[in-house]
């Protein structure tokens, strides 16, 4: 299990390759990468991500362990950045490895749903010079009910 909460960029491709290599009992690897997305009007200049040092790592570790046990994952990786990011920059990634594809997909989706609403991160967007906190979406909370 590899977990990192960091300000620095990460290399999605290199991490994906390292994660997928050297397994002979793993048939399926799934990765997810979250990217700072501008809206249609193109006004987003910066996304600032705040977190709760200490609790963040603890919460991610707990969710990753739950995902590992529940979906029989051979391996789990979670990287999440904080600080000031530009549109197009990678915010975070997860990766899961399992004997079968369904577990790898379900494990990654479970992790993403929990990271969205249960890991202590908060996003603030600077749009046309105006800062605004991103509201939690009711559908993100609803997504948890399926697990």
């Amino acid at each position: 299990m590899k977990i990192s909460v960091q300000a620095e960029p990460f290399d999605y491709g290199a991490l994906s390759n390292a994660f997928a290599q050297g397994h002979t009992h793993v048939g399926a690897v799934v990765t997810f990468c979250g990217i700072v997305r501008d809206d249609e009007l193109g006004g987003l200049s910066t996304m600032e991500i705040e977190h709760y040092p200490g609790m963040t790592e603890k919460a991610i570790k707990a969710h990753a362990q739950t995902a590992k046990d529940r979906f029989s994952l051979a391996e789990v990786l979670v990287i999440h950045r904080y600080g000031s990011l530009k549109p197009g920059e990678m915010i975070m990634m997860v990766a899961t490895a399992a004997p079968h594809r369904n577990d790898a997909f379900q494990g990654a989706e479970f992790l993403m749903d929990y990271l969205k609403s249960r890991a202590p991160f908060w996003k603030k967007e600077i749009v046309n010079g105006e800062p605004r906190w991103v509201d939690a979406k009711p559908e993100d909370e609803d997504a948890l009910s399926r697990w």
Binding site: Y52, S117, A119, P120, W122, K124, A136
Partner: protein
């Protein structure tokens, strides 16, 4: 004496990230009531409890959880990670 920590717009409305606080409150809800009485900025930050999440010693809890033995109580809006 417990440490209170605030994040995101809760932090911005209260105007500080962290403070030490002496309290006789038994639960999270009591503690919030006590803070709201103290100063207007707390009343503003805690005006809608549906938008407030709480962690005691870095574990999510609900409003009726006991703060007995708590070292650090954190208040923040619903999380928006991922």
């Amino acid at each position: 004496m417990i440490e209170l920590v605030y994040f995101a717009w809760v932090r911005e409305r209260i105007g500080e990230a962290r403070e030490s606080h002496e309290t006789n409150a038994k639960t999270v809800r009591d503690l919030i009531e006590e803070l709201k009485q103290k100063e207007e900025r707390y009343a503003v930050a805690f005006s809608d409890l549906n938008t407030i999440r709480v962690a005691i010693d870095q574990d999510l809890v609900d409003m009726d959880s006991s703060i007995e033995n708590a070292k650090e109580v954190a208040f923040f809006p619903p999380m928006t990670g991922g």
